[in-house]
């Protein structure tokens, strides 16, 4: 069993979860993920990792509450024990000296891009971070990201923080700032991964996306996380989760990502914590 050290709502619908898992904390690297089960009846869900402390033996994730299992995670209180916190899983994001790196994050990815930016900075790169959110109240860790980047750019749909607009504004903002990335790395919701890849393709900016398909075991056994990359079948849990964003069949991925949406949401309507009218 793994002890929950902290669980708090960091911005609406997004939670920061810190768990004591010393073996994971000792071995995890940027871009990898863990598999978490909130209780004995719970689903195994993959969570990207946003930070860790090898000395204290703790690991932190940011997750968005979507369905039944994330709702359970969102109710955890410090001191509670969860039965599964396994990892690290997946290949680490390759950290090399490339020159200038642009780290793009949205939703939970604002958190999970953080260790990537930190490692790229430590490897001697110039690192810029780009955050996308619907509104200022959904932006978090701006300062924390600032500490590991040479500059942070923010864009919000309603313009209440940073520039008004969405990820489409990114290329223009980079041009204004004179930033020419040698590598773009994107973490976050599927739409952000796809849209960023579409924007960078004509610019010829190499783009790595950290994919987030449905998973069960996460160890290379069940095959549910498969996706088409460059026309070949790949498995996100062992071949990824990082892939070249310009090579992915996004339409197929979006459809697969949604295959259990009704089942994910349905139990919420009947759970005891739901409001009954």
């Amino acid at each position: 069993m793994y002890e929950v050290i902290e669980r708090r709502m960091i911005v609406p619908n997004h939670h920061e979860l810190t768990v004591r898992a010393p073996a994971v904390a000792a071995s995890i690297r940027p871009g990898q993920f863990v598999i978490v089960r909130p209780d004995e009846m719970g689903e195994r869900i993959p969570l990207s990792v946003a930070d860790w402390d090898a000395k204290a033996g703790t690991v932190t994730s940011i997750f968005m509450q979507v369905g039944a299992s994330t709702a359970k995670l969102a109710r955890l209180k410090p001191g509670r024990k969860i039965p599964t916190y396994a990892g690290p899983l997946g290949k680490a994001t390759p950290i090399e000296k490339v020159g200038t790196a642009l780290c793009v994050g949205g939703c939970y990815g604002i958190g999970s891009i953080h260790p990537v930016a930190r490692a790229l900075k430590a490897a001697g790169n110039k690192v810029y971070t780009f955050i996308e959110a619907r509104s200022s109240y959904l932006v978090y860790w701006e300062e924390k990201l600032g500490r590991v980047s040479d500059g942070v750019f923010v864009v919000t749909r309603d313009g209440t923080a940073g520039r008004k607009g969405h990820i489409d504004k990114m290329p223009a903002m980079m041009e204004e700032a004179g930033v020419k990335p040698d590598l773009v790395i994107v973490n976050g919701c599927t739409f952000l991964l796809m849209r960023t890849s579409e924007l960078t393709k004509p610019l010829g900016w190499k783009t790595i996306v950290n994919m987030n398909p449905i998973m069960i075991d996460g160890t290379g056994m069940c095959g549910v996380c498969r996706l088409s990359v460059g026309g070949k079948m790949k498995f996100a849990c062992v071949d990824g989760p990082d892939f070249d964003g310009h090579e992915i069949d996004w339409a197929e991925f979006l459809a697969r990502r949604k295959s259990y949406s009704p089942e994910e949401i349905d139990p919420l309507r009947r759970s005891s914590s739901a409001t009954h009218f």
Partner: protein
């Protein structure tokens, strides 16, 4: 054949039937299909054994169980002696008695089988194991004095549990590392409740734990700690990390929604208890028309699972004929009784979806059988122009899988075969890396529980020799 003892008693050519759940009833539940022999039936069945001077049956057993020995004990109604005899060579009798392909192994070589039906060796094995569990008195084996040597075992499936069992009895310290949240490997995530209840797997795991095994769950060897890191702490290491990436057919449409690998389908249902959704959180779709592609035990398990999940029509689609089905005969019969429709000599060539990315039909070809191929089975040949469409909401692909890639990917110095398995020496189960042994699906790809246990037994003997300086 010359030393075959002539049968003195009259040959009893018919095996005793094993009572099972009514087929209409069992379509609706996940409870075990077969109830097992009551004691009197077991004794009657055991009496059919000729107690051959040269027991061929034993040669057919990958772990070399003293089959006439335990059957003799049943005839004498000394069930305690029987289970003791069985456990000398087999740590998991309740499991082997249920899932071993006996008709290909021990029972295939049974002398009575030449004239009538072979002795039901598997059912008798199961009887003894269940008798012991029901008696509540679990007899522990005699343990060798502690050697102080430490062995790490990767994977708590049939191979890992067997290695652990053998080495513990020999006095070594054993720690098992399991990546999933439950022990048993394929026995737990793959084989359905109705064929092998998880409580039975749990019982066998508990036995290995009582022998002294330490078990770390949710521990992914390769990433949580690497094999090299574990070798700093342990004197020897056994890799039984099992099955990996499922094979697909490499035909268009395999990434459509509604297309499952058998591993995904069975894991959702068995390990994650998807059949009890929403009580359990892991969902499983309940489509009305399901097609399972393949003809092995995993395909039968998937088809019968789909029946139980309430599908109106479940098809088994296999490119060869009834005679070539690799599944156990008993499970093929069970599937037929339960209403699975067999589409034999049929090969899927394309999966077709709707505009939202959901599967709606499958294009197939009819096949004919040609000359035998390398595998000795008649080669399936497509009949040109025989294309037809089969409407289906779900396809489960059960055509096999590769060895799990995690350890091969993270362990330098291990020789890996072209198919992704760890290369081992057949006589010792040694890998090309010092102090590392391997067995089961990680070496062979998809194989049987008993072959994994056979590998494990060889590995344990070799590890023991190494640890005690006998080599």
């Amino acid at each position: 054949m010359n030393d075959e003892k002539p049968a003195k008693k009259t040959l009893d050519l018919k095996r005793r039937p094993m009572p099972k759940q009514d087929h209409l009833e069992r379509r609706k539940n996940f409870e075990e299909v077969a109830f097992g022999y009551p004691p009197d039936t077991a004794v009657e069945e055991a009496r059919r054994c000729l107690d051959c001077k040269k027991p061929f049956c034993r040669d057919g057993c990958p772990v070399g169980i003293d089959i006439p020995g335990f059957i003799r004990a049943i005839v004498a109604r000394d069930f305690a002696a029987g289970i003791r005899k069985l456990k000398e060579t087999n740590a998991l009798p309740a499991i082997c008695g249920r899932v071993c392909p006996q008709e290909e192994q021990c029972e295939k070589l049974c002398v009575i089988g030449k004239k009538g039906e072979p002795v039901s060796i598997g059912r008798l094995e199961r009887f003894l194991a269940d008798w012991e569990a029901a008696s509540g008195k679990l007899e522990m084996p005699e343990m060798a004095p502690k050697t102080g040597k430490k062995v790490a075992v990767v994977g708590a499936g049939p191979a890992g549990l067997t290695v652990a069992n053998d080495l513990l009895v020999l006095g070594h310290e054993v720690t098992i590392f399991e990546a999933l949240h439950d022990c048993g490997g394929v026995l737990t995530y793959g084989i359905p409740e109705f064929r092998l209840p998880n409580t039975i797997v749990g019982r066998e795991v508990e036995y290995v734990r009582r022998l002294g095994a330490k078990i770390h769950l949710d521990f992914i060897v390769g990433t949580t700690r690497t094999v090299d890191q574990l070798l700093e702490e342990y004197d020897a290491l056994f890799v039984g990390s099992g099955a990996g990436l499922p094979w697909f057919m490499e035909i268009p449409g395999e990434n459509l929604n509604g297309v499952y690998s058998a591993n995904e389908y069975l894991t959702r249902v068995n390990l994650m208890k998807g059949f009890r959704f929403p009580e359990y959180d892991t969902p499983i779709k309940q489509p009305s028309k399901v097609a399972v592609v393949g003809g092995g035990n995993v395909a039968m398990d998937s088809a019968r699972t789909a029946v139980r999940l309430g599908a109106d029509e479940v098809h088994l689609v296999y490119r060869r004929g009834r005679h070539e089905l690799p599944a156990r005969e008993e499970e093929v019969e069970n599937a037929e009784e339960e209403g699975v429709i067999f589409n034999l000599l049929t090969l899927p060539i394309r999966l077709i979806g709707d505009e939202h990315g959901w599967l709606k039909e499958m294009e197939c070809l009819e096949m004919a059988l040609g000359e035998p191929d390398d595998s000795g089975r008649r080669r399936p040949m497509p009949i040109e122009g025989s294309n037809f469409l089969m409407p289906t909401d779900a396809v489960v692909i059960a055509i096999g899988n590769s060895p799990n890639p995690l350890i091969p990917m993270t362990t330098p110095g291990l020789e890996i075969s072209r198919k992704g398995g760890i290369v081992t020496d057949e006589a010792t189960a040694k890998t090309t890396k010092a102090r590392v042994w391997a067995g089961g699906d990680i070496v062979r790809g998809a194989a049987t529980v008993i072959s994994a246990m056979g590998d494990a037994r060889i590995a344990a003997a070799s590890i023991h020799k190494y640890l005690t300086g006998q080599e």
